[in-house]
Subunit: 273 residues, 4 copies
């Protein structure tokens, strides 16, 4: 490998892992209405060539929940026993405008190695069955079949195949997700983030008998392990090209105090690799 | 240089060029109210450990203009004679939900070489005087002094020094900006984007006598040359370290039809370079 | 009748014609997402009795379309051949923040006589069949059966019975509405407003063969006759009590430039009448 | 007095007590950004006369705080020792979407007698001096001079004269307001609501030494006495005509769970009175 970092970025093959954002895209009921963009400043409004010259501008306004579309969860998004990650009591850091600690603005860009575990492709069923629960065994067997090792510091991307259903909210919300054992397995590998092509990573209907929690992955990864969750990825193209290992770039916005951020993650592969 | 692209990204020194986003950050009058985030789902709201287990979630809602904070302009943001870039008539592509062509979702991630022209540092006056108009001569002389060449495909970052005044809207809105000659000079170099640490790139009060336009850079770069504009960069740390050449990563969100996107651009330098 | 106006208002029986407003109430697809309220300033946030005393405040933010819930349409809401009421060309008065003429802030409070034509009650089918088209004959026969005369200056309230389905968007959007002949009949009577207990007054699927227009009532009443339309009324209690004639109070908010306003209309009946 | 209630409403002289609503109107810092309306559906967008007929529609979206502009406070807006009116514990009724009790949707329309105490007119200083604190003595002496008695069930309107400064936020926020003694006096009279032509009824800088509370009126009237507060009235015309007694009509919207509502109150006087 040679050339400057800039050269390598410029010439890399880039996979865009973000779903398009539009009013009507799937959204978890808790986060309705999700997303709305309205163009209100129109070019015509300011077009007065005689007095103001030929130039005009247009722009709009955006109303959105931070957990709409492809997004990353901040650590303050989830609590366990009213404690955030690092045993920070919720009450100490919660304000009307967001959190004083562990807000999304504190998250460094995710830059490093990414791996894809294409469960749907490996099982030759894409998408996976509705509410299929991806276990540690699935992840271990599938990554072995791919010949890819998960390492400390990786961003782990799990594919259910539901990313192809982004225009069908009803079906998208019935997606497969990670089982408790899958979340534990990922954490044991030391990944810094788990990304997935569904709405809630976990399967909303599942409840862990041991802890009594729903959304075990949210319960375990964010407040207990400090591992980020990225949802609503589009992993279709990556799977089609069988790219199981890549450079991952995921850059949250610094929305001060917010519990998450929209994100457009990229997977990059050097031209000759 | 060696190692995989992932290794290089992981070990690079990263400069964060985004200003933090919060209600009350500077905003151009046209784009008021700019930004508002409210936390409304609180952890306490769903904390019922006996029946629902120990986990709770929190989240909020965001109201923002797409030209608030550090952001990139889509080509549809500006028109000249009611034509967008490529002579696309505004009327053909304008809808209530944004533009059918040249919306921000059509912009590929900006990945490649970035250069800094630190005009404020070079003139030893940071920030530059209010409304100081940065000319082609300034850019040429300053880049020469830095020993940095601007090449086709670069992202050109111009520093006025006003990035240090992000908490002072009144003063920030009196920032220096690029003169007509500066915008022409940048376009001649073949850059793909011009970034700057002020609100409007151009100086709002300046009007070009030849064309009658205000905001000459907006008039020329976007609808005529297809060159993107990035505003409200934070170039302070980059300037302090005298990093005039770097890998640039700027990834707009795919807000379908929108005229711009918030962005958190990064400048990266390989560890040994 | 005796006593001051204040006494009479105080002692009148009051019928509340507004539907409750909440996220998830029915909304016409064009006006999605309709309504969203989030409480974000909580009492707990500012509760510091030692230093700030015992008082605390709470408040929220509201995102809504002006045509959500029970609302009144401004004359600028509809145009015919790009002309507003009074032949005002749309282009002359349209701005990014609304209309310079005929905005809702120009509408005086509606204070006077109201009449109810309870078509659903009269036909002994409440609600009326889906998409039932209420004709001039229906209105004439029904008002005759009620023994109520429609006079110049009245607010005419037409009941389809769908007001009882406010919690069921799918069914509510299949409501009965006024036919072309019904709108013509109302205008001939000289009413100042037509109110109805459905989403769009007209039946969206109907198209007038003569003019080619959809929503004939919107086409005719607002831009051609200057008659206001009030939608999503709750006329259930009024119908139950067979109040076909009453004092009507409808007070739009002065949202400058807006095309409509939420409204809580009242029907009032003097105690002994 | 004769004629039906409808006739009387129709022929009454009406005073409009609402200030116009627009982006940039004064707003209390806590409730920034206050109000924003954007027209985004334009008539031109759907104008296709050949295929869709001559009719077109326009509409917009509204982002607002419920305590912006002329508005009424719900009882849940203020708490004392974390208790709402009637000793309702905040924690029992607070949700992410507002309050389960004492929300603005529970407030009946205010219909009855209104009285004006024009302190600014009586003192022949309109507006009153900045931050002038209106005492019980002021209210008693002024109402006596007006020859108007305050009765149980009245809506009491207090005029500072700052309603004439609605276009000047800085000056408007320095308005006169009610002193502690003024709030106590109003409550003793048994009024159901106190309205005023300023932003916060009380003077924000004042703190009651006895209870340690700021905004004594908010502390006392809402959570302890169940008396509503209406802010940002326009009482200019009423004062000019020396109308000290009138019929009052104030109708909050039923924003479920919200802590207040925009309102357009009216004062009405029978034609011959």
């Amino acid at each position: 490998m040679s050339g400057t970092l800039a050269d390598q970025l410029r010439t890399a093959k880039v996979y865009d892992l973000e779903q398009p954002r539009f009013a009507g895209m799937p959204i978890y009921p808790t986060h309705k209405p999700g997303y709305f963009y309205a163009l209100h400043r129109r070019h015509r409004d300011s077009y007065k060539p005689e007095t103001s010259g030929p130039r005009t501008g247009a722009s709009g306004s955006l109303f959105m929940m931070e957990h709409s579309g492809t997004h990353i969860d901040a650590l303050c998004h989830q609590a366990c026993g009213m404690k955030l990650y690092g045993d920070v009591p919720v009450e100490k850091v919660e304000t009307t405008a967001g959190y004083l600690q562990l807000g999304i603005e504190t998250v460094s860009p995710l830059l490093g190695r990414g791996v894809l575990i294409d469960v749907a492709g490996w099982k030759k069923q894409s998408p996976l069955p509705n509410k299929y629960s991806i276990s540690a065994d699935d992840l271990a067997s599938c990554s072995k079949a791919h010949g890819v090792e998960i390492r400390t510091g990786d961003v782990l991307c799990v594919r259910t195949g539901y990313g192809s259903l982004w225009h069908d909210e009803a079906e998208y919300l019935r997606a497969a997700g990670t089982a408790k054992s899958g979340s534990l397995w990922a954490a044991e590998r030391g990944v810094i983030a788990v990304g997935i092509d569904n709405m809630s990573c976990d399967i909303p209907e599942e409840r862990d008998p041991e802890t009594g929690t729903t959304l075990f992955g949210h319960y375990y990864l964010l407040p207990q392990k400090g591992i980020f969750i990225i949802e609503n990825l589009n992993l279709e193209e990556l799977a089609r090209d069988r790219r199981y290992e890549f450079a991952f770039v995921g850059i949250p916005l610094k929305l001060v105090g917010a519990t998450g951020s929209p994100i457009r993650p990229l997977a990059m592969v050097a031209p000759l690799s």
